[in-house]
Symmetry: C2
Subunit: 388 residues, 2 copies
């Protein structure tokens, strides 16, 4: 499936599957390095369409459009892991696709994803496969309650998840998720949620950004803070986990790994995204190189930059109508405002973000968007498979 | 000539006259704030065409194309001061143009530019108008030799300048510049060349970046360093000069003012650019807000950011074939590489730049591209009117 990949020269055209804000920021980073971009997205209002050399607005299954797209670009990457695997496979027969489509296939299936991680002896929450309702009772016996039943594929936007507490009927949960192959996961008592953004080149060189601490609101990432409140040893362990996963995938590009931190400092891998990630947006302003440029460099066959953090950093998502308040951020001295050029404001939609860089690390930022943190609950994030 | 200008909302379309690297970087900054851009340039390979929502490739005198352009955009700005004044005037009757076209008209004429500055009691090199050859002898008597005869308009790319030393025949200089209205300027014994990038809003709020020290090679900017080696008082005086000029122009946007620093710390204004400026490229990586975003904010009616410099900064232009060496810069830990996506490498063409940020100010960067500096010569920069 893998075509030989040459090192890109400036002026080469990078094809991006998906035209949301991640595609937009990837395209802006590519432009800075002298590349052209061609974005493929079925949505006519895709934000990335406004900042690129060429666009294709077509369905991901439109073979003619995909053929033309493949012929126009030197390499394909994606901002979005729910691109149909057939699309990636179709393209990979015509033009190099990075990260490799088999990574996409693994991460699109929660069971394959968890199994991949477990095979590396990296801890995850206890889980069990549930292919049919009759397996559910056994799985519950092994995992215990409360537990969460999640569809293996395309479980995002709050769909495909059901919690099973003591009094709940497992059969009802099975029906609620649509009666399809599932994974049953245990609740985890975690202290904080963190993520690691790792980049890896074709030659196997890797660079991680500092570990990020994430706070969700209504199951959507609201605030990321860097550095995460972790011991140096735990932070290093988190980065090593991300690098190990990237290495075992023979990954090329930026990979995001979300983890839970337990009270004893142990780390459990929650899920992965084979792409740039919302929790890495702070790197645009808060680091010497951004996650977007790292991804472009990696897939282009260029050396990675060595990220240096510019201070204590906080990234605040502007979600839904919060974006209407963007002007108040413009005059905050240490704030950088990013708006995604989306035409419609909808509840829960990521419209922009703000980065605050506190060069003096001792300065403690006010906790914008902070909320009471419950000490022991798993984030059964319905948007976890969304473009986080 | 001035139409009422409303505050732009995100998703508004900004029209940019000129599609070179400055237009490209303006468009990237506008995209970050959620704006769309429409670039107008006669050159089909314009680098800014690759990063915008819409392009017009037409002559600056094509009234139909200008009409369509005006109808598509909410505001017009320019990356390039040699846009014909008629073009700006034509557009200004249809859509707000910022900075105001009368600023363009003043700066396009070296005599009007110098007179404007002199009327503010801001020092410049001694100069005299020379409209006809018979005025040249008188002017030389007043200014002294050596002096430089420069055409008043469109004197760039080394054209339209002739030096008159002791033994030279003034009539030959007059013929050399094409026998058109000129300005005669005295040589100035300067210690260093500096520039100030100022931004001003519609309401008159102004912000200056730190003063920049510039080093030219073959009459093209090669290296900019920030902060300039100046006393605090001289640095402040330089910023006040730029702010005064911006205020008297009722300027909206980013204005660059180039100055000579004399041995006693006195400042002479050399020339101005009504736009973002090569010597301000360091702000993309070395400051909390870039000159490009300041310009977009100012013309949009948005508040300016307060620029905070991230350390000692050096910006190195990649000129002509130097760009072929870009890969060696990718692995320099503190270097940010910018490539402009230009299709043809030509001698003297600005192909990209590199920014180095030294967070520890005591660290003294190696002097990349440094050359012996002659102590007492005026920079008769043939590229001074080019897109510097």
């Amino acid at each position: 499936m893998s075509l030989p990949v040459s090192v890109l020269e400036p002026l080469a055209t990078i094809g991006i599957l998906g035209g949301g804000q991640l595609g937009r920021m990837l395209a802006l980073a590519a432009a800075r390095l002298g590349f052209k971009c061609h974005v493929f997205d079925p949505g006519p209002d895709s934000p990335a369409f406004d900042v690129v050399h060429r666009i294709t607005c077509a369905d991901y299954t439109d073979a003619q459009a995909l053929d033309r797209f493949a012929a126009d670009v030197d390499i394909v990457t994606y901002e979005f892991e729910n691109v149909p695997a057939e699309t990636a496979t179709f393209l990979a027969a015509r033009v190099p696709v990075l990260p490799d489509p088999r990574v996409l296939a693994t991460i699109q299936d929660r069971l394959a994803e968890k199994s991949f991680v477990a095979a590396l002896r990296i801890p995850t929450a206890p889980y069990a496969a549930v292919d049919a309702p009759r397996q559910l009772a056994d799985a519950l016996d092994r995992i215990g309650r409360p537990a969460v039943l999640k569809t293996r594929r395309f479980g995002y936007d709050g769909k495909g998840q059901a919690t099973i507490r003591e009094a709940d009927d497992p059969e009802a949960a099975w029906r609620a998720v649509g009666g399809q192959p599932c994974i049953l996961e245990s609740f985890v008592a975690f202290e904080r949620e963190v993520s690691v953004i790792a980049a890896r080149t074709r030659e196997g060189a890797a660079e991680c950004f500092d570990v990020i601490e994430n706070e969700h609101r209504d199951h959507i990432l609201k605030v990321s803070r860097v550095p995460a409140t972790l011991s140096a040893a735990t932070a290093l362990a988190a980065q090593r986990i991300a690098e190990t996963i990237a290495e075992k995938f023979a990954y090329v590009g930026v990979l995001a790994v979300e983890m839970f931190v337990l009270s004893d400092g142990d780390l459990l891998v929650n899920e992965m995204a084979p792409r740039v990630h919302n929790s890495g947006h702070w790197t645009l302003d808060g680091a010497s190189i951004s996650q977007f440029e790292q991804h472009i460099r990696a897939i282009a066959g260029w050396p990675l930059g060595k990220p240096v953090r510019r201070g204590r950093v906080e990234m605040i998502n502007l979600i839904g109508s919060e974006v209407e308040n963007y002007r108040s951020w413009l005059t905050v001295p240490d704030a950088a405002v990013h708006l995604y050029g989306k035409t419609a404001v909808r509840p829960g939609r990521k419209m922009g973000h703000v980065t605050r860089v506190f060069v003096d690390e001792r300065q403690i930022p006010e906790r914008a968007g902070a909320q009471t943190r419950s000490g022991a609950c798993q984030s059964h994030d319905p948007a976890g498979r969304d473009k986080a």
